[in-house]
Symmetry: C2
Subunit: 466 residues, 2 copies
């Protein structure tokens, strides 16, 4: 069985045995079987509990041995002291995929460390692979599957995650992961195995990695680079400082290395590194929705001069450039309802075209669309940022709902990324713009430009000969 | 008239004349008079429009001269070419406070630059002060006053803002400014004048400054330091790069200086510098709600080990320290419902006390409160961060609503700042925690720690002998 076939037993099992299913059901009972039933999991389920013959209408077995089948996956959801024996039982039964949920292994005391190495050895001898310990296990919304004991929302987002924490099962602020492989202590199945699973997975377009320390670095980098040629791999590598690395070791037993080394190696192998969860989310959205950014030059239009300045500051910070506007673009914009004294440059301050008296509401949206298309048509820029505050409360929706115009511009210029930034209060305009799936809308210039810069970094990697 | 008395004419006028009031009223008409009536402004209003005898039921005058009174403040809301003559009329009438709204002065062409210097000279000769041009003017929720032409929400938040952009009138994501002085091109009234107004303003507890370039730097630094001794001054200085400085000059005519010089001078004079609007907002909330942070040591408790690690990374980034937990604290925490193998350290991973089987829901909230109070009682730490995901969807509210416990802990330890971080999806728990006005809740560890680090920076300034 190759790694991908093996990983499919975890991520797409046709049958699951769950050891340690409680007879209690409902809120706060952490009943994994109950969760699977609620998600609508279509595979076979074999709860194991010596004190019950049936739980939630599903026939229950006193032991793994008693199950008249060889389930693809066994989830061991009992306290740590039982885990080694249960892994042995799995191996005896010929099970090839085991998730060990409990904490208290390499993440704790000497006894825990010993139990972890014991169970790894027993599994390896028996030809089984282990995810965990110290994990919620896996989640696959495309199969209505999640092995975490709290109930979480499943959403078929084409973003897959490999992580070392249950935190991500709760979802991010703008999406839930379509698939999660929570490695926990990563005692056996590691980030490289999981990457290989996602490499050719048609459900997943963007891969996220959260890791505190990566085992078998060389193998990882080789595989990651190969995967990155096919789809973006975005990595949040934490435990950056020595002290954080110690903390990481105490909760997940990970090995960690010098932070700068990670940074340099990631970049060289096409792995996009991000600094925190919000950036992970925002950069992922850019990759999911936007076309590649084929150069570092950004054309900016901004409702206010001040936010144009902030955008230029952010370009400097994140390594994008703000080129001069071509004279043909200047001429085209000059023909719109701008006063003749208004400066026309990059960043383009559009307030003068809408501000003060003499402004023509009926032309507003069309003029903004023309400006946007003019910037998109610029040969010297490879992406466009539009900065606009959420003025829908102050103005009427008919006047400021730019959705149709922006959709039209995005359809015409499919090959250039468009990002919107809505700094300050976010309301109706933000919601409307966020619904346009060909662009990405961010709550600040800085976040938009940070994401575009990563898009550009990845495009450069793809364009680089191997 | 001293600066503060002068500034009160702008910020707390008993009477306002508005030149350029349209007869149209309602949505999108940008009728400043209409806005003032809607806000419930209690002062006298004198609309000026030669084509109307009455607008919105308010007697209207054909010219400034015709007004049978000397208003405290005149708002000139007509196109740029009329401004110089109108300033002259103001001066002739003995007006001392003038807001010039229009764009097209130092922010535009040669003619605009000349008009700006003309009106500055005329005002100075007549003993009048000018805010603008290129401004929404002022906003004072405590007086139901806002001179911006779009209608904005007013909210009596004790945070005052001095800025160079109308953007902030739309509000930030977590509050609206209680008072705003939008300096626009800052041709006369400058950030130093506005700071002096806020210095002893009882309505305002925290001062925000958005500036692209500061005139009369020495005077500013002297005044800012004096003000900073009384209340925090948080500055977003943009136009950091040379190119951004050029862009700033083109839209507001500001002079700008070397960015590093600003950074060093700000720090030395107790001005808290922030990098973007979100940080401005988040740091302001910390200052508004939290007690001083008397040292750089932070005690951290985290629902997951992974977020504890992220918090430690962020402490390293922002200059806070994560000290070891005292043995008395360790002992106190050991007595709670933790398994005996669970590591007890800083950051404190609380998942083991709630996770997996054997967990006692009835003790959960009390145990978390005890842990929080134990960390608050640590002599070696001067603040506490709690990292917790928004699990209220996965668990029942009764189990996870920590509000009462956190309030109690915050009441007992009034002298130490407490911040919450809720990474990932934010829902009911975030909303509940955000309502506790003695703490601040942030959507990530990084943002929480960034704000606490600024709180500590300011506390150090206050503790430093002058």
């Amino acid at each position: 069985m190759n790694t991908v076939e093996q990983m499919r037993l975890f991520m797409e099992p046709a049958s699951i045995a769950i050891v340690g299913v409680t007879r209690e059901a409902g809120k706060d009972t952490w009943n994994i079987l109950g969760n699977l039933l609620n998600y609508g999991f279509q595979g076979k389920m074999y709860p194991v509990n010596p004190a019950a013959e049936e739980i939630l209408g599903i026939k229950t077995y006193p032991s793994l041995k008693a199950i008249p089948d060889k389930p693809d996956l066994v989830v061991i959801a009992t306290p740590r002291l039982t885990a080694v024996d249960l892994v042995k039982e799995c191996v005896d039964k010929g099970i090839k995929a085991i998730i060990v949920v409990a904490q208290g292994f390499a993440d704790s005391d000497g006894e825990g460390k010993k139990m972890q190495s014991d169970l790894v050895r027993i599994a390896a001898d028996g030809g089984a692979r282990v995810i965990g310990p110290n994990t919620f296990g896996v989640s696959n919304a495309f199969r209505n599957l999640c092995t975490a004991f709290p109930p979480f929302k499943l959403e078929r987002t084409p973003i897959g995650l490999i992580c070392q924490t249950g935190l991500f099962f709760v979802g991010l602020s703008r999406f839930h992961y379509g698939k999660i492989c929570d490695l926990g202590n990563s005692c056996d199945v590691d980030v490289t195995d999981a990457l290989q699973y996602f490499e050719n997975d048609p459900d997943i377009k963007v891969i996220n990695v959260h890791s505190e320390g990566i085992q078998q670095g060389k193998k990882f980098l080789k595989v990651a680079k190969q995967v990155a040629r096919k789809k973006p791999v975005i990595a949040l590598k934490t435990a950056r400082s020595e002290y954080a690395a110690m903390a990481a070791q105490s909760h997940s037993g990970s090995l960690t290395g010098k932070d700068e080394v990670y940074g340099a190696m990631f970049k060289q192998h096409g792995i996009i590194r991000v600094d925190d969860i919000e950036e992970l989310e925002e950069v992922s959205l850019a990759f999911l929705r936007l076309p590649p950014m084929q150069g570092q030059n950004l054309a900016i239009m901004s409702w206010a001069g001040s936010t144009g300045v902030m955008a230029v500051d952010a370009c400097q910070k994140y390594g994008l450039k703000v080129p001069k506007l071509s004279s043909s673009a200047q001429n085209r914009i000059r023909k719109l309802s701008l006063p003749d004294w208004a400066p026309v440059s990059n960043p383009l301050d559009i307030f003068a075209c809408v501000g003060l008296r003499g402004f023509q509401p009926q032309n507003l949206k069309k003029d903004i669309q023309t400006m946007l298309e003019t910037l998109l048509a610029e040969d010297g820029s490879q992406g466009v940022l539009v900065v606009i505050p959420d003025f829908l409360k102050a103005f009427s929706s008919e006047l400021w709902d730019l959705s149709a115009n922006v959709r039209q511009a995005a359809d015409t210029f499919k090959d250039k990324p468009i990002a919107f930034a809505i700094p300050g209060a976010q309301g109706e305009l933000y919601t409307k713009m966020d619904k346009i799936d060909k662009i990405v809308t961010y709550p600040s210039c800085e976040r938009a430009i940070r994401a575009l810069a990563k898009l550009h970094e990845y495009t450069e990697f793809l364009n680089r000969p191997d």
